[in-house]
């Protein structure tokens, strides 16, 4: 999909109440998300097509159908993004007990970089950064139990 089509698609979606839109075909995958915390437009293609998927942080698109657009996100909310656990399990900061942690507070990580493992029933889930960010805080202790949706890291986009 070229930029023109993408613009049309974004316009169509912002004219509705849809907050999340996902489309996938053989060549590309398009994910559009919008909400009070700021809009994120991500467009990814298989590795064979583009080496690294692009993530574009878009300015707010006030929904045309609503006279009262959501207010612009406050700066502290913007820096208060968290990486949450997709499953119930045990949080591990390192690949092995005697290994160095994947990340430390203060560190800047790249999109796709592994942040931690959450394990449940011998299923190891490597949690990756969904965007380039700085780790503001590690929210859980190593080997601590975490619930579905629990914040694991406080991060700040960079």
């Amino acid at each position: 999909m070229d930029v023109k089509d993408l613009k049309v698609l974004i316009k169509m979606i912002t004219e509705t109440d849809i907050t999340e839109f996902e489309m996938e075909n053989a060549d590309e995958k398009i994910v559009l998300k919008r909400g009070p915390r700021g809009e994120l437009v991500a467009m990814a293609a298989p590795a064979s097509y583009i080496a690294s998927p692009q993530t574009v942080h878009m300015p707010s698109f006030p929904p045309a159908a609503h006279s009262a657009a959501p207010s612009a996100p406050a700066a502290d909310e913007e820096s208060g993004e968290t990486v949450n656990s997709p499953i119930v399990g045990t949080f591990y900061r390192a690949p092995a007990p005697d290994a160095a942690p994947y990340v430390e507070a203060g560190q800047v990580v790249e999109k796709g970089q592994v942040l931690c493992i959450v394990e449940a029933m011998k299923l190891m889930n490597e949690i990756e950064a969904e965007f380039r960010c700085r780790i503001v805080k590690v929210c859980k202790e190593n080997a601590q139990a975490v619930e579905f949706g629990d914040p694991l890291f406080l991060v700040e986009r960079v």
């Binding site: 298989p46 590795a47 064979s48 949450n84 997709p86 499953i87 119930v88 399990g89 045990t90 591990y92 690949p95 092995a96 007990p97 005697d98 290994a99 394990e119 449940a120 029933m121 011998k122 299923l123 190891m124 889930n125 490597e126 990756e128 969904e130 080997a143 139990a145 579905f148």
Partner: protein
């Protein structure tokens, strides 16, 4: 040259005598010369094939190497699991390889085998002993249409599949130690480790890692191994064809996985429960070296979490850890 060697091999199955070159050429619709070329190619792969001019060809022995064609010939073309089979020689770890392939778009159902692993891995960076030519080192790529929090159920699906494959191939009666260690006479014969790539609300893919000690001999186990371990050969007394075992295992996994997709977790969960080695027993769970809980085993819940009854009605839910049966 197209890979028709895999189509010749089934013609030898179930026969001790010769198959004529004419029959092969007719069945596969290729010339007698092409048959000869393919037979020679199979020989270079380690198949021992007799050829007698007036009688034809006879398969004397299979090579002891993992063969995608041999496995596929048994699993059937319609199965989801094993729709594509890749056999590697030496690799780092089949899970790492399958993970990399899946990240690059490899299809649902593709299975990766290896002859040996340099970095065969277990839970928390532990090592899985992976000598060449002896065992099954296998990883299955799945793209299940379920939520990430349901994915741990697949741990039990694959554990039951491996237990079934052992029972079918050897008549031995394996049990399962929570969540997915496959045991024979209290010794671990197979270890399973699964990995997932997921976003908050969707699974990109799941890798089911399966290591089965098939023909491993006593000397091949390291002296400092964490658990008592064994192999099918040590328990059964005969060497098994790894390709045959792999085919049985993939067939069982396919059936269980399709059942899981159609009917949910309940059937696999019930079968897992019947095979569990902790029924009616006291268990101690430890994690990262410290004891978490001791009590009576009280089954698994809908997520697959182990329930341990401590004292009267106090139930502790366990998601990770090493279980010891008291």
């Amino acid at each position: 040259m197209p890979r028709i060697g895999g189509k010749i091999l089934p013609l030898f199955r179930g026969r001790s005598g010769f198959v004529s070159g004419e029959e092969i050429s007719r069945e596969l619709n290729v010339s007698r010369t092409a048959v000869w070329k393919h037979i020679n190619r199979l020989r270079t792969e380690g198949y021992v094939i007799d050829a007698i001019p007036s009688q034809g060809y006879r398969l004397v022995s299979n090579p002891d190497i993992m063969s995608a064609e041999e496995i596929a010939a048994e699993t059937g073309a319609k199965n989801v699991i094993g729709s594509k089979i890749v056999c590697l020689g030496e690799t780092g770890s089949t899970n790492a390889e399958a993970f990399r392939m899946a990240a690059e778009g490899e299809a649902h159902g593709t299975v990766v085998f290896a002859e040996s692993q340099l970095n065969g891995k277990g839970r928390l960076g532990r090592r899985w002993e992976s000598p060449p030519g002896a065992n099954i080192y296998c990883s299955v790529i799945l793209r299940p249409d379920i939520m990430p929090h349901e994915a741990p159920q697949l741990t039990f699906v694959s554990a039951v599949a491996v237990a079934r494959a052992i029972r079918i191939s050897t008549s031995l009666a394996p049990s399962i130690k929570w969540p997915n260690d496959i045991m024979l006479q209290g010794r671990k014969v197979a270890g399973l480790l699964n990995e997932m790539s997921a976003e908050t609300d969707r699974i990109n893919f799941v890798i089911l890692g399966i290591g089965v000690n098939v023909n491993m001999t006593g000397e091949q186990f390291p002296p400092d191994i964490r658990y008592p371990a064994t192999s099918l050969f040590l328990e059964h007394g005969d060497r098994l064809s790894r390709n045959d075992f792999a085919a049985v295992m993939l067939k069982e996994l396919d059936q269980l996985y399709c059942g899981f997709v159609a009917d949910g977790f309940a059937p696999a969960r019930m079968e897992w429960q019947s095979l569990c080695n902790a029924n009616g027993r006291a268990v101690t769970v430890s994690d990262s070296g410290r004891e978490v809980v001791s009590g009576m085993f009280a089954g698994i819940d809908d997520d697959g979490a182990m329930l341990v009854r401590r004292g009267g009605s106090d139930i502790v839910r366990i998601l990770t850890g090493d279980v010891r049966i008291s």
